[in-house]
Subunit: 355 residues, 2 copies
Amino acid sequence: MTQSIPFPSDPSQEVRLTSEKLTPVLEAMFVKKSMFQFDASVAVKRMLEADLYGIPSHGAGRICEYIDAIDLGDIDPRARVLVLNENDVMTVMDGSRSIGHVAATKAIESASAKAKASGVGVTALSNSQTLGAASVYVRLAVEQGLIAICMSSTGGATVAAPGTKSGAVGNAAFSYGVPIQNGAPVIFDSACGASSWGKLRLLQQYGLPIPAGIAFDETGEEATTLEAAKVLQSGGKELGYGLSLLCSILAGPLSVGRMPIKKTRSDSAEDSQHFFIVFDISSFQDPDRFHKHLNAGLDEIRELPPENPGDPVRIPGDRSQQCFQNYSQNGIPFHRSTIDEIRARAEQLGVVVEW
Amino acid sequence: MTQSIPFPSDPSQEVRLTSEKLTPVLEAMFVKKSMFQFDASVAVKRMLEADLYGIPSHGAGRICEYIDAIDLGDIDPRARVLVLNENDVMTVMDGSRSIGHVAATKAIESASAKAKASGVGVTALSNSQTLGAASVYVRLAVEQGLIAICMSSTGGATVAAPGTKSGAVGNAAFSYGVPIQNGAPVIFDSACGASSWGKLRLLQQYGLPIPAGIAFDETGEEATTLEAAKVLQSGGKELGYGLSLLCSILAGPLSVGRMPIKKTRSDSAEDSQHFFIVFDISSFQDPDRFHKHLNAGLDEIRELPPENPGDPVRIPGDRSQQCFQNYSQNGIPFHRSTIDEIRARAEQLGVVVEW
């Protein structure tokens, strides 16, 4: 629902593991790299939430990449997130090159607290690292009954603009969440390009080609493999370009960072910036009226005649809720090679793995 | 740049008129309908700004529609815009069914003032009417050195969602603006559907078909005429759907309004809601550093190799700036039938027209 290509799925290539089994191993890996236990616990929680909600491209499968970034000095496992500037409504934070999951958790918590007090809360987070899946932070605010938007800018200009096949803007993550009374929240989470790069890596892992309309190779032709893909197409023509540019500016120069086109080194060697906007519903109007009107509208959308009978129209968040119910009960499906890679790295770090 | 279909242009079907010549006539038309002179002046200014910046679908050509809405009681020409609720950062306003241009001008002014004082300013405007072009309000904040976002929800669910060809979400307007030191601002202004309905009306006026990929007829087939078009495709697949849903909620239930799918009467018979978010750059960081990094990034995007030589990559706002320079000097091009219609209605109201 939230992105154009579905995530690959093939039980014959997968193993299922519960988040309970993975958590101590992943935490221990970070702690072996000098991360504070508290921060390791937060980071692993956010990573596994991505997996539980069906975003395997941005979950636990990335841990070896983060360990590499710690080894290279790009992530500081003992960084302290600093408040540079704040008032009743906004905070500017310096992530001090901490892992993005820890810094972004503090950022959304600050924006949520300010929203509760002032109606609106905003955090601009500079000098951070990739945060994984943007929607897991949005969910933290939604769980408190708040509406939240997250824009995240990691890495260089890998998304083309209308009129060029060269990278112009970043593949920003744009996510928002709206709480629903007595139901699963509306959660939208998308790259502004035609796909996230993480999803293309998953396609490769499953032995699948990149579909048409997603990526260009260096000559500007359609790329079907990850190796050939140099630039992504925009996720929504001018709309994707415009939204990506907005994310690149708010989660960029406004957050004490640079524009993606000026980031030319690897993703973790460059800072990431993240931008959060949170609204408290009751500051705007009667929450009961808000929920009544919202639910009435969403119910009617779900009841629209589907193009394919049996495949009802979905609200963003419906699919991730189904994943959560399935995966928290039956374990999270991982590609076997992902689990092999995590196990090998954990054992190399001296962490005991019992799966 | 900001929308998929270019605006039609055919000098043989057009007449050029300056905003100076149009202003007194349009103002007098509203005043004849009991609008306060001050409000008429604001509304006409916003309408002609849309034309000057190259958005003829949402400019002076709509005045007869607004006069009709006053006659039907859908727009109250003497309405007072009320503040329902405010604090240092946010305002909830009731447009009292005033013409949207007047209410939205007050709304962005309030959000801008709060942003200057608190770093962030938000206005939710309920019970209003269509505001014309969303970007003209964004420009009011940008002229004060602020970053602004405008989301506007007018009318029912005329944009399909993935998985259905029925209308699910509104054709929300999404616009933002970012000031540029010593240059034209970044101004993005787009419908969340594949086109605005106003642009499709212009195509019809110029005798042009609706291109493929824009609209469905009532059987779900491609519509090529305005009469046949019942539902618009999303402006950016899942991204357009997701953004439209966000606009529908913020400029909807959060702004004391309803979801578009629950609006079933004509656009002006239903309330519109508008939502504004404004950021003060200097509250987040050193404005000189912000502008230095932003300009460096935008310059590099403009210098990317274009797909068509001689057609350089544009930043949103580049085209509208060219229009402004051309039209403020040489007059605004209007379709002859638009001018004929305005002239006939003005004369019917007893307004003297000298063009």
